[in-house]
């Protein structure tokens, strides 16, 4: 996926890091060995767009590694500049309150992502989220990706409900919902509708 993203975004490299709230960060994938080293840089140094994107739950887009960037990340800035990188775009991998990591796009030339590239980058981030939730390289065919707003709201509500039913984290509730839909060969939004309508419960004692 990182290799495909590199091509689709006219990037030099794309890397994905898996991160957790308690500071346990590790690199999960990169388009090539050089990008792997660059991706690891911010994890080692503990600062950079990727760290900030994860902490603030929002993209951190740096189209030009200029002086103000060097002031913002005094250690990381010069280090990544020294690797020949001139632009970094970090997209958080998240679904609401569940934060899984960050996808980083690196370029050796300064300049913004075009509107089309921005859309693609966010689509790649969505794909990475799905892959991480399913714990495999080939995510389940996501029939729900572009579904109606109302259905998506119901899916998120179901995640919150299953979290409380099972007494687990929101991330685990999300995985359980996906696994159930996959095992029963039903769409995620169908399963979510049943949960919200209280036709389906996930806690074993009550099912």
């Amino acid at each position: 996926m990182c290799t495909n993203a590199t091509e689709a975004l006219s990037a030099t490299g794309v890397g994905v890091s898996v991160m957790s709230g308690d500071g346990d960060h590790r690199m999960a994938a990169a388009s090539d060995p050089a990008t792997e080293r660059i991706e690891e840089l911010q994890l080692t140094l503990g600062e950079g767009p990727c760290i900030d994107a994860f902490a603030a739950s929002r993209p951190v887009l740096v189209p030009d590694l200029d002086d103000s960037v060097m002031r913002r990340w005094p250690v990381y800035g010069p280090a990544v500049h020294g690797e020949g990188i001139r632009a970094v775009f970090a997209f958080p991998l998240q679904v609401g309150a569940v934060r899984l990591g960050v996808l980083d796009v690196f370029r050796t030339h300064a300049g913004q992502l075009s509107r089309e590239q921005m859309g693609r980058a966010i689509t790649f981030a969505d794909l990475a989220v799905t892959a991480l939730l399913d714990g495999q390289d080939q995510p389940h065919a996501d029939r729900d990706l572009d579904e109606a707003v109302e259905h998506r709201a119901r899916l998120y509500q179901a995640q919150g409900m299953v979290m409380v039913q099972l007494g687990v984290s929101l991330a685990e509730a999300m995985v359980r919902l996906r696994a159930y839909a996959y095992a029963e060969d039903r769409t995620l939004s169908d399963v979510a509708a049943d949960v919200v309508a209280r036709r389906l419960r996930f806690d074993p004692s009550q099912s």
Partner: protein
């Protein structure tokens, strides 16, 4: 509609132009815009849609629940006055929802809106020159049409709001709006997740759950998004949800 004094109108314009505050929050800014326009037009409810980096429109704020439903319906049907205003960049004003033209253009929207007791709709693009970032819908229970002066004032407010969102990009960085919008979209997801958690925990429906979260946030003087995040990450630490509002 122009029952407001020039003084209060001026105040609204300044408020809408002021995005350079330290803790700028996109959802709260759009909520403020919807509320101000609703007050300005006296009888209309107001909803706002913004476009994301993938070109998809999202519901962002509304002055009340009925405006929210009307915006969501348009998104679901991919048809409605706000979508027309967004696609063409032109305002759609004084459309009588009982007129054949409305039923022909947006049959589902017109039926749903009239069932809700609405009589007229006005939709304004949020734009700066060629760039259109969303739309604002005004739904009215009377047919008291907006006159040319009213239309100019509302469009001017929409323009100022769009400029102040877009100017931040030229002043600081072009990427700021994308960053804020993606963050705001994620905050809305957190709110839905929290509604589910509270609905399950207290055995209530999701609408009641939302009211409980909102009134908890108000009672404790905290932001809605902040409370929603705590609900889904640390529910046991939050007590006092059961208390009835007020």
């Amino acid at each position: 509609m122009t029952t407001l004094s020039a003084e209060s109108l001026a105040k609204v314009f300044v408020e809408v132009a002021d995005t350079l505050v330290a803790e700028f929050d996109l959802i709260e800014f759009l909520q403020m815009l919807a509320d101000r326009v609703a007050v300005l037009t006296a009888d209309a409810t107001v909803g706002i849609l913004l476009v994301d980096a993938k070109g998809r429109l999202h519901f962002m704020a509304a002055s009340d629940e009925s405006a929210k439903l009307l915006e969501l319906l348009q998104l679901q049907q991919q048809a409605g006055p706000c979508l027309d205003a967004f696609r063409t960049g032109r305002a759609v004003v004084n459309t009588d929802l009982f007129a054949p033209v409305a039923a022909a253009a947006w049959p589902d929207f017109a039926r749903f809106a009239t069932d809700f007791g609405f009589r007229a709709v006005h939709a304004f693009p949020l734009r700066l020159r060629d760039e259109i970032i969303g739309a604002m819908g005004l739904f009215s229970r009377t047919t008291g049409d907006l006159d040319d002066g009213d239309v100019r004032i509302v469009q001017a407010l929409a323009d100022v709001a769009a400029i102040s969102l877009l100017q931040e990009r030229t002043i600081s960085r072009a990427e700021v709006l994308t960053e804020q919008l993606q963050s705001a979209l994620n905050s809305r997801i957190v709110i839905e997740q929290a509604k589910g958690a509270i609905a399950q925990r207290y055995e209530v429906d999701v609408d009641t759950a939302f009211r409980m979260i909102r009134s908890y946030a108000r009672r404790n003087n905290r932001r809605l998004g902040e409370v929603a995040y705590l609900v889904v990450t640390d529910l046991p630490s939050l007590t006092g949800f059961e208390e009835p509002a007020g």
